[in-house]
Assembly symmetry: C4
Homo-oligomer: 254 residues x 4
């Protein structure tokens, strides 16, 4: 096993000018929720898994009692209509634990998507506000100036100096290292309190992606989950008698 | 010295379709206690030691004043009866300290046992409950679905979503990385409060292993140890006037 | 991407007996402020960037919404007058996060500057006092004894046993590893409270460098920033009713 | 620069059956004090320095203002009398910071001393008691059983199960990894409160070494230092009104 190991599930998919969309765990799990939902909704096909020595030494247990080594997963989806594009989707259990691990992992991810023709990408994450929010906006940052203007048209917003700490984690590094290879990329960051997983923020991010990709995603499952989380948050507010307004260290984006 | 170094004590044992059983330190030291007891009881023979740069830089001091570099130890035992199978046993002072170290070490362990013909394994650990328990059950998780059913027949139980955090450490990683090589494996997790070493839980695990392997293990030494620990626990309860019910971070399994 | 990766922006500059001046982030950001100001003031040209797997996995967001992978930057400036010397300047977003990363990065920096003819260097940092100071002095330490005397003539001071912990970080390591290659070097440490970025201390350091290099630097921008910081410090004193006199762990120099 | 880099100061010394004595920083700095004192007293000659990427990225500042990269230092001393043996001495600023660094460093140290003929070694450290002690004893642990008996004759003592945590750090690892190469070795651990550097404990260790090596060491400098430290300890007791009896995590030996 290499530091990062690719395990092919199918042979290399043949894709035409595919868009790459990443959603790994991070604040509010916004990116992960969005991509998992997208994978389920369009019935994308898994074609590869990544294992990494910088992931925790851990297996998860499936509902049938079998174990699963922690990993990242690549999916693809072929366009059904003329105004759509093929998609490559990435989600997973973890990001790298260390700085070096993050760099190694992102380099390997870029190798894989470059090899199947990706030149453009969207990386998804949450932007932790530390307070509750009714209608989460979606902030964006991009590898190239012309993309900022374009993304605003799809409903993303850009606020100068936000997030002040930049973008930490795979969502940022994919843009940074991707640009060195000539990729164009945009990071969408859904506003989120950041305390709990946030399907509402993931939905806001997906709505913009739907406009960009012309892919119809059934958002009902995500809406259902959002209601459950809202109930849990309500219960927490009541039990703890706290508005959950204070938080620290929520600037990690994913 | 390599990152992980193998030191052969005897030449490679010739074994027939051996079962591999791992018990390294972890919560309640359940796995380590079980395998050490098994080694003593069947008088298994040490055939190799592992040193690793991810172990602490440490020697232990034997009762005669001599020093021992911290290590992992491999033993083998040859079947005496027709209904038994040859065994390969692993125990030791430490698991790897870092994620990468755990992966490297488990890969090396798999190399070694694969080389002597292992295709099936049992990994042993504790499942930390954070509260005391009269009759510890033994949970299981397996690489393959058919094994869950089989292990239930031997008295192991399976509870959906337990342990919620999966299995962290060598016991989990051996299954995860082993499966990628085509190994079948089962992790047995003895329920344990998790505060102290727990011979009672180790005994529960061994009893299931005895049924599976048809190897008779004299459990009296373990029962003796269990009584001593029960006395210590009783004293702690009296002195501290605490029921020791609260604990954190006990989900590590080993 | 290597552990440390060089990205050339222009072809290798042809320089004559250049002086190398380093100012990376550190206490009070004294070194970084000084070199950034110097780069702006003399309009130095960027010729290379360094990326490193030991930097945080992070991009910053420019004011136009585009992302920038965290990095270190090399600039050069050609002497305009006979009493001046060519300059090579280094600043950046981060130092290495780990010990090993710092060593790797500094070795690569030395490779680069050695390759363009550097034999002498100045490394700039702050000396954290933990209390406020009206007129920050500039302490020095050097690779060679004759340099101490020389630097005193330019207004730097040397106090025995200060800083007691030596010089931690790139500013120290450049001298230490540079000396092994035959470089001469001096570290200037501007006294600073260490709570906030400190343009006043950076100015003190630059004034000495101006005498040494015969390069005229317009200090007004730095003075402006110093006033702003002084106002912020004043507000903090009022709000917190504290003289900010106590601090710990401020011995890192940069 | 390699992970561990050797810089030869003189050509390889030609020694006859030399004894190796290590004293790196650790609890009470007992080992370092003892070896530094021995180096000074017998006027040993430095023949090599070690730099390591696992040391802190740091230079110290000499009293003349020049910088010194942190390092380990090897000295040798040639026997003057028939009943003496050549000595190889090691001291330095740091041990490795990480587990892996410690293993790498100790392996390199063993390479060096093996290359000049060492087959026997003494490693020196402190045994932190966490309380004050009038007449510090010197505990020992050895690679081979026959050495325990021998060392007792020289005044070292052996107490079963002490130190309970074994020996952590270079002093332990040198014995552990050295034994794998066929070295014989003894670790002497001077009892020490562990709060402050402890010349009294270092003296106790040196006295035993003097008997073993038949080398006369003038202990007056160490006694002088011990008096100073005793005064400081006395002042601390008065100021803090505390007997300094409680401490944790003092089991590191060095």
């Amino acid at each position: 096993m290499d530091y990062v190991t690719v395990r092919n599930i199918t042979k290399k998919p043949k894709l035409e000018n595919p868009l790459f969309i990443e959603g790994l765990p991070g604040i509010g799990n916004v990116g992960k929720l969005a991509v998992e939902h997208l994978v389920d909704s369009v019935k994308a096909s898994k074609f590869a898994e990544l294992y990494c020595k910088d992931f925790p030494p851990q297996v998860f247990i499936n509902s049938d009692g079998t174990t699963e080594l922690v990993k990242n997963e690549f999916y693809y989806w072929k366009a059904k209509k003329k105004n759509q594009r093929d998609l490559v989707l990435l989600t997973g259990d973890y990001q790298g634990l260390s700085s070096q691990g993050q760099y190694e992992l992102v380099e390997k991810i870029l190798d894989i998507v470059e090899d199947i023709g990706v030149k453009e990408m969207f990386t998804l994450g949450g932007y932790g506000l530390g307070h509750e929010i009714k209608n989460p906006k979606v902030l964006c940052a991009t590898t190239d100036k012309h993309l900022v203007k374009k993304m605003k048209k799809y409903g993303a917003i850009f606020r100068k100096n936000e997030p002040g700490g930049g973008i930490v984690g795979a969502s940022g590094l994919l843009l940074g290292l991707g640009k060195l290879r000539g990729f164009e990329g945009t990071c969408f960051m859904g506003e989120t309190p950041g305390y709990l997983v946030d399907p509402k923020s993931a939905k806001a991010v997906l709505k913009i992606l739907m406009k960009i990709t012309n892919v119809d995603v059934n958002l009902s499952a995500l809406e259902e989950k959002a209601k459950e989380i809202e109930q849990i948050a309500q219960q927490l507010r009541e039990i703890e008698g706290t508005s959950l307004d204070k938080t620290e260290d929520l600037k990690y984006i994913g």
